[in-house]
């Protein structure tokens, strides 16, 4: 992929067209970009429209102020991983779904939904993915408030 080899952080920035809050380049091949939660979906889609772009996965992290969502995007042949990071405030973290545009996001959004309690608006099918069908709706195992013993039992 000749074009994607020439990808630079400046080009990523240009693709985002000012829709970001901060950029942090940890190394030549690792960049993370802070984005407001209303711009996050648009920012990820713009990066995914670049040549050779691929969504690796989405990481959710429970932090005191809210649930952080990290969209990891890579570009074929470059080894560059760009992470779009946004904060969804508690108690009801919610964001627009990517799955409507990209089938690859379907499973991971279902997983983040059940494990961390993030609502993905517009997702076609938010059933449980890795948890049992009868797992209680309000218990999210990857929330920090839940100890690992409770997470095993499914107790709130």
């Amino acid at each position: 992929m000749a074009d994607s080899k020439a990808l630079t952080v400046e080009k990523l920035m240009a693709a985002l067209d000012g829709k970001y809050l901060a950029v942090n380049q940890q190394s030549p091949s690792r960049v993370s970009i802070d984005v407001g939660r209303r711009d996050a979906r648009e920012a990820v889609l713009r990066l995914l429209a670049l040549p050779g772009a691929r969504l690796i996965t989405v990481t959710g992290v429970d932090t005191p102020p809210g649930i952080e969502l990290l969209y990891h995007v890579t570009f074929q042949g470059t080894g560059l991983v760009c992470t779009v990071q946004t904060l969804l405030p508690k108690p009801q973290p919610s964001i627009e779904s990517l799955a409507t545009e990209l089938p690859a996001a379907e499973w991971i959004e279902r997983e983040v939904h059940e494990l961390l309690g993030v609502e993905f608006r517009g997702h076609p099918d938010l059933r449980h993915l890795v948890l049992a069908d009868d797992w209680p709706d309000a218990v999210h195992p990857l929330r920090k408030a839940l100890g690992s013993a409770q997470a095993r039992e499914g107790a709130a």
Binding site: S29, R30, T57, H72, G77, T78, P103, L131
Partner: protein
């Protein structure tokens, strides 16, 4: 009339349960839905309560077949945070272990593929060549599987001169067998009829489902973490990234077999260049920060994200194994396929998921009409019919040579 065929979720031989529901009309598959979670062990949650050293043993148990890929990806992530410079000898040892794993994993897959299409010669011989590799693992690491070779900052055990000599000898014996398997599979008309044009994945769908590994490379997507994001000693070693353009089962088979030859090359180079020296550095603490570790597992890119809060336990570990993105692409590959090809299409991504023995065909009115063994039998019967039509494969000179 549409019928639903559930496949799985449990299989006593393979390590990961999963349920596939095939929707079929007559002999044609119209849709597939996968259900997972039967074996969700909460590894990401458990990792938050374990020290970095304990985490390595934990992530090694994500998968029993690519059991060194996850520790390498985890080490890559943590070593990034801690700013560790890997000792040169350790970097080469990591390559040797990772490539040996690719060899045994691809041979395991090739054998299973042979079984599913009813080619027992291929099955038995592929597994016969895999066995000495597991013995090598035992002599180097002490274990046939789950080697516990990786540690943050290096590896746990050295490869002795004696083990290295044994390894070279085994590779010299394996290489001509791989060429034979390749030639035999490529020329065989029956295998061609069973594998070519079956379970095709277009490059467009490969991008849409974000697939990785041999599956992506078989559609012409030129990606390999070892080359694109070099870790361990891959940056200084010489190897080819194998791609194919057809995207069918034959292409994924060809990519895997050719990759094994590259793995042999890589191990030889690593053994030749390995300097004498320390095999690990001490990492007294992991500073606050976050790191992403990538690894090219036999099935494709393995991704680990680690966030550290400066203590001896990680704040968050996120793991994405290659099958997580490869399995959903079945939806694109199954549509229009014959039921007799279902077993081999499922197997073509990863034997872990082709839990075909507990499957049953359910009529719209209810009541099982066909079980899992019957589905494999269907696949094997299709091959047998082709053999009658095209001539017995076992009688061809190449296969006779194998024996």
């Amino acid at each position: 009339m549409t019928r639903t065929i559930p496949i799985g979720p449990y299989h006593p031989l393979l390590e990961e349960p999963e349920l596939f529901r095939l929707k079929v009309e007559g002999e044609t598959v119209v849709d597939i839905e996968a259900t997972l979670g039967y074996n969700h062990r909460g590894i990401e949650k458990l990792a938050e309560g374990k020290t970095y050293d304990q985490c390595l043993f934990l992530v090694e148990r994500v998968c029993g077949i690519c059991s060194t890929s996850h520790p390498i990806a985890f080490c890559n992530a943590v070593e990034r945070i801690a700013g560790v410079k890997l000792p040169e000898r350790a970097a080469y040892i990591r390559v040797v272990i990772a490539e040996l794993e690719r060899l045994h994993s691809h041979l395991l897959w090739l054998g299973l593929a042979g079984h599913y299409v009813g080619y027992h010669t291929l099955w038995m011989w592929a597994w016969r060549y895999r066995e000495p590799l597991l013995d090598l693992f035992e002599s180097i690491t002490g274990n046939r599987q789950s080697y516990a070779m990786m540690r943050i900052g290096g590896v746990r055990r050295d490869i002795s001169e004696e083990s290295a000599a044994g390894l070279r000898k085994a590779l010299d014996e394996l290489e001509p067998k791989l060429h034979m398997l390749l030639g035999a599979a490529a020329d065989d008309p029956v295998l061609g009829a069973r594998l070519r044009g079956v379970g095709k994945l277009s490059q467009e769908d490969a991008r849409k489902y974000c697939v990785v590994g041999p599956l992506a490379r078989s559609t012409g997507l030129d990606m390999d973490t070892r080359r694109d994001s070099p870790y361990a000693a891959y940056g200084v070693l010489d190897f080819k990234v194998i791609t194919h353009t057809d995207g069918d089962i034959f292409a994924t088979t060809a990519v895997r077999v050719l990759e094994m030859l590259e793995s042999v090359k890589l191990i030889r180079q690593a053994l030749d260049r390995m300097p004498v020296g320390p095999i690990a550095v001490d990492v007294p603490e992991v500073s606050r920060g976050e790191g992403i570790g990538l690894d090219e597992a036999p099935r494709g890119e393995c991704f680990h994200y680690v966030r550290s809060n400066g203590t001896n336990m990680p704040e968050r570990v996120k793991i994405r194994a290659p099958s997580y993105v490869n399995v959903p692409s079945f939806k694109a590959r199954m549509a229009g396929a014959q039921i007799a090809d279902a077993a081999i299409i499922l197997a073509s991504v990863d034997p872990c998921y082709s839990c075909t023995e507990r499957m049953a065909v359910v009529n719209a009115g209810g009541g099982p009409a066909l079980d899992g063994n019957a589905l494999i039998k269907l696949s094997q019967q299709k091959t047998a019919a082709l053999v009658r039509e095209l001539g017995a494969p076992d009688a061809s000179p190449r296969w006779r040579f194998l024996k």
